[in-house]
Amino acid sequence: MKATYLDNNATTRVAPEVLEEMLPYFSDLYGNPSSMHSFGGQVAKKLNDARQKVSDIINASPDEIIFTSCGTESDNTAILSALAVNPDKRHIVTSRVEHPAIKALCEHLQEKGYRVTTLDVDSRGNLDMEQYEKSLSADTAAVSLMWANNETGVIFPVEKAAALAHERGILFHTDAVQAVGKVPIDIKKTDISMLSFSGHKIHAQKGIGVLYVRRGTKFLPFMIGGHQEKGRRGGTENTPSIIGLGKACQLAALNLEDENTKVLKLRDRLENEILKRIPNSKVNGGGAPRLPNTTNISFEFVEGESILLLMDEYGICASSGSACTSGSLQPSHVLRAMGVPYTMAHGSIRFSLSTYNTDEDIDLVIGKLPPIIARLREMSPYWNQGTACENM
């Protein structure tokens, strides 16, 4: 069965052009870029090209780019560095809706004695900017706020938030894993000190991440070892992945307009048709500025895992914020932070599109999903046939 892939915020397919670019570096061109011989040197040259392309996508300079193994490593490196270079500051500001790469790290640091402010969001997922401004103090070592939310696609005003931190001399980090390639980013026009993103969300392969560190920002490495990445991240370079990421960034820059026109149009059609065809459904984060590719829809009185597995019967790939799929027993922390009621939170489905999606993909979902929801509602003790239940 053909997979209808609408889970691109989880991971994306490797673009054929990216794969082609990488292949020689798995086989013939296996040299170590640090070697003195020209066999390794040719790889070093290609690596420099890739670094240039990667820096271009956020309009940074190549020397501001550090390659890591994933978004999580970039996030961890940024926060731990900010704390290490500010040893007398004990306060971190973040939000309630961050990715676990930041959320779990901050919880860990809190246990270690750091003071952590986790900012609230409103029911649409918007950041409480007033609370943010009040939270900044002379003791604040770092702020970390995601650019766009992985579950809802809601975009935070990170440029404004970075400016407020910068005025107070506070390091500002953003997890831009979901934003790069979908939102135009000109890092030079912002006050962002550090920015993380990841290859596999933009059609490169898994296992490659990026940390941008603004020139002049004090930095201490997380991985201590060789001189690679100018001593900021030890370890032999993942050459095929870096070279693939260079290509992926080049493609992402070209596709940025597509994402905001073609993909946006597909997403809007999917969303509108679902809302029209399925009663008691609601978009989470619908009222906020959002990524063009993401929609997170709740279906009242049904449970997300069941929806996913029934869609799986048709090869439709999506994800859910329900407790049963999260590996924990509680529904998504993002939806809970937004105050989404339990009747809705357990039945949330995220569709995230890419430039590879077509109208046929959308047709399949809007054809198959309404009977799936109807069938599960018939089975649900909370659903009264034909009439909307009173809210609980």
Binding site: L329, Y342, H346, M379, P381, Y382
Partner: protein, 278 residues
């Protein structure tokens, strides 16, 4: 993705007995929408007092739906007395097993069955007995004790998988550990009066070693502690405390209240546990 058996998939994709019986003999609703799964079970008896029809409505994941579907099939033709003996493990077995994290779905089915029979028998529906231990999911000590006893659970993780207790904010983990310790330090409710066969010295030593390894160490290690068996002199079991136990001011209570009573229960009632002198 969960690894569900073909049986689970079959019951999920083609659930049996969905719906609600009008004027049922037994009815129960368990779980809640906040917890993420809920089950409404109804049944009707025939003239021979056997379950003629059973139906369910479920809000929940694939394994919750499959558990309810399997349950309704299982109890058809049973008397209520027979149905009372159905355990959550029977439901899981009927499905060819459930992933450990999903065992609470089978527990939900068993609870609904028990409550619907209570309704049939006219036993007044009791407000939850016991003290609420897990505030997130409203699970009481009695429910945790029942799950431990029926499924031989030994870790907090297992308790969470079966009852959900401890799966939210995790603040109750200490309390749950205490319930586990208590459950294994007390002789079971009905002490077996039967005489234990007399052990030879070698048999006794082996049994002590095995009991420490299997029954005692895992609990101690959970709290960062450990003990080593140093010597056995007659009925005196000499041990050395390690890890957290070595520095724990309550280690004497652990040795007497837990280690000793466990060894007495499982090896010989005459045993005395002593800590090796430093």
């Amino acid at each position: 993705m969960w690894e569900y058996t073909d049986k689970v998939k079959e019951h999920f994709l083609n659930p049996k007995n969905v719906g609600e019986i009008e004027n049922p003999d037994g009815i129960a609703e368990v779980g809640s929408i906040a917890c993420g799964d809920a089950l409404k079970l109804t049944f009707k008896l025939d003239e021979n007092k056997r379950i003629k029809e059973a139906r369910f409505k479920t809000f929940g994941c694939a394994s919750a739906i499959a558990s309810a579907s399997a349950l309704t099939e299982m109890i058809k033709g049973m008397t209520v007395e027979e149905a009372m003996n159905v355990t959550n493990q029977d439901i899981a077995d009927c499905l060819g097993g459930l992933p450990p994290e999903k065992m609470h779905c089978s527990v939900l089915g068993q609870e609904a069955l028990e409550k619907s029979i209570e309704y049939y028998r006219g036993v007044p529906s009791i407000v939850k007995e016991g003290e609420v231990i897990c505030e997130c999911f409203g699970i009481t000590d009695k429910e945790i004790e029942k799950a431990i006893k029926e499924n031989h659970l030994t870790t907090i993780e297992e308790i969470t998988n079966y009852t959900k207790a401890g799966g939210g904010c995790k603040k109750c983990h200490d309390k749950i550990q205490k319930i586990i310790d208590r459950a294994y330090s007390q002789p079971t409710a009905e002490p077996e009066p039967k005489e234990r066969p007399k052990l030879t010295n070698i048999q006794k030593i082996r049994l002590i070693e095995e009991t420490i390894e299997r029954e005692i160490r895992p609990s101690l290690k959970h709290d960062g502690g450990d003990i080593d068996l140093v010597d056995i002199i007659g009925n005196r079991v000499i041990v050395a405390t390690r890890g957290a136990c070595a520095v724990c001011p309550a280690s004497q209570q652990t040795l007497k209240g837990f280690v000793e009573s466990k060894l007495r229960e499982l090896v010989s009632p005459e045993l005395i546990v002593e800590e090796v002198s430093q």
